[in-house]
Symmetry: C2
Subunit: 380 residues, 2 copies
């Protein structure tokens, strides 16, 4: 490199460093301002996530960016990242307590990931929370007596039995809820065991999220919505989007989602193991998309095996779905072995037509994600 | 909402808007500065991607962020997003031409996505590029005579035959290269057809990337590395990371990656189709992780069916891998149907141990990606 080049680069980099420092100061300022917004909302009991305000703000910024020749998507991505940070820090200032007189919140299974998360959210909102673990059943009657809400979040395989055997004598005014990833059976069990308000929730995220902002919680109504409406609003204050669903419909979709997809990912991990594939080498040749897929396989196997078996074994219908997938796979394999390329292509087109506009939408979405993936993984 | 709350929120939001405008100005300034860096590098023929400089810069910013109480990951993510933008715009200012005297670049199959991308990169670097499509074979002898580099990027099923039949009389000094996703056979075919320099590349990305910065290109050496070394350096100037590999080893890994994984994704799409699952409804209940997986399925079916069949049918060994996966799947299904939960859990633990530290690493990576996914998809 010539001396002139080195000098020019050094001078420019010094200027970039100066801009970066200003940038950092602005990020600090913005986070502080949003924190103040959080305090005001906290006082007023407003949800931390305001989709309309966000949409308006982003579209203004995009227009301003366009005017000065900055790619609108750039400012949107930067602001979204900043907002994510803000939501995380808003947890720290706590949340408005919507129903101070409701009594205790008892979380059965509060020591699991999801239980811990909800325990924290309730505590941040000023509620007294009691976590009922396996060794605490002696205390249960006393705790239930003072409870306004009882939430069941134990392994899926134990949920219904626990409800049927242990939760038959709750105070009639008490709200009984669960966080299980299937809804129909637990909801039926709760309705049978308890005469008071009953509601089923399915948080559509892992217990490792840092904030509930923008996260989806499916709600399946049981009985006494008027009495538990505040609980739904409390979750909205945490930033969650509550989506109403019919329990059966939810479970049907979940079987496809969880059992089928997870199982095929599971089988992929087993196939890698069976062939003793060299993961290090696979990674070396991995494009972002494959790296991402491998990450999904790895993520599954970083979970608790028992919880995973619970999900798979939770419903007999899952096994039907899984075996129907196995059939699709086998018939495709025969097609492949027959060497009938034309037929293979026709099958492809058939599925492509069935997915219709979704295929395009998915491609668009995955492109954005793959860019993030490339940013990250190519910097190992 | 009380009047006081409304007023407080309005006042804070006005301040946030002001900060955002300063932020936008800074982004503009930074992009301009990096553009100037691009010009200097262009003149000097330096690669646009400087990993060490990036790493040093990021670690300084992280430290500064920590000092003023900003999450270090926040500034890193924002800067990475900015850098991605810069790389994209650096394409516009063109690239240093490393070998002006090399003659023409002939790209056989230059009208496909990957061909177009490389055509653009060579043109941005000042080379004359000729795209040889199916109807242009009459011109071929004349074009080949003036060519310094001939790059084959036709569908995988046609590659070897084309090399064997059409590329037997190239000028001896001319570099013959290909961009096929398998390497062993095309490389052998090129070595046999051509006596001059031969090299195989496998770009590990789709033709839809906007910049080659940080993208990986696998290189399998054939013959005459001294003569084609400049070509590798030219790709590095574009920002790519060149990774050397042995062709057989590469293909072995690719079979696992492409055939196996892609095929299982393909089968998943078919299974959805066979059961006529309601995609709209699936999406409604989709957590970010499933949305991401569904996006991968959709992405596959947005591709050209013929290209896809080509990849699957490219190597007979792929079919072996696919059928071994089918066996893993079937035996897991039997295990599931037997109801032997203990055995299922043991299998899980076995694979988990085999993945070892990778499982944790993948989980970490996927968490970051899922956050981006959640930011994006929950704002539909």
């Amino acid at each position: 490199m010539s001396e002139k080049t080195t000098e020019s680069l050094e001078a420019l980099r010094t200027q970039i460093d100066a801009v970066d420092q200003q940038l950092l100061d602005l990020l600090r300022q913005r986070l502080d301002l949003v924190k103040q917004v959080g305090h005001v909302k906290h006082e007023a009991g407003l949800p931390i996530y305001a989709p309309e305000r966000e949409a308006v703000m982003l579209s203004k910024r995009r227009a301003e960016a366009e005017e000065i020749g900055v790619e609108p998507q750039l400012i949107e991505d930067v602001l979204r990242r900043l907002m994510r940070e803000s939501y995380r820090s808003e947890n720290k200032s706590g949340f408005k307590q919507l129903n101070p007189d409701c009594g205790d919140i008892v979380i059965i299974g509060g020591k699991g990931h999801m239980g811990q998360l909800f325990t924290e959210m309730f505590r941040l909102s000023g509620y007294r929370v009691r976590c009922l673990g396996e060794g605490d059943w002696e205390q249960a009657p006393k705790w239930f007596e003072q409870a306004g809400v009882i939430i069941v979040t134990v392994p899926i395989s134990a949920t219904c039995e626990l409800i049927r055997q242990r939760l038959t004598e709750l105070p009639p005014h008490c709200i009984l809820a669960d966080l299980t990833s299937i809804k129909s059976e637990p909801l039926q069990a709760m309705m049978k065991s308890h005469k008071g308000p009953v509601v089923g929730f399915h948080p559509m995220f892992g217990g490792d999220v840092k904030s509930l902002a923008k996260q989806i919680i499916v709600v399946c109504h049981g009985r006494g919505q008027v009495q538990y409406q505040w609980l739904i609003q409390q979750m909205e204050i945490w930033g969650a989007s509550l989506v109403e669903a019919c329990a059966n419909e939810h479970d049907e979709a979940m079987q496809t989602v969880q059992a089928l997809r997870h199982f095929s990912t599971f089988a992929y991990g087993v196939a890698l193991f069976d062939s003793q594939a060299d993961v290090e080498k696979l990674l070396q040749y991995s494009s972002p998309i494959y790296r991402l897929e491998l990450a999904m396989v790895g993520r599954l196997f970083a979970q608790n095996p028992k919880l995973y078996a619970d999900i798979i074994y939770a419903q007999t219908k899952s096994i039907e779905k899984i075996s129907s997938y196995a059939n699709s796979y086998q018939s495709l394999l025969s097609l492949l072995e027959s060497g009938d390329r034309e037929k293979f292509i026709n099958k492809f087109i058939e599925v492509s037509n069935y997915l219709g506009d979704f295929a395009q939408q998915f491609q668009q979405e995955s492109r954005v994600l793959l860019q993030s993936a490339a940013d990250m993984i190519n910097n190992r």
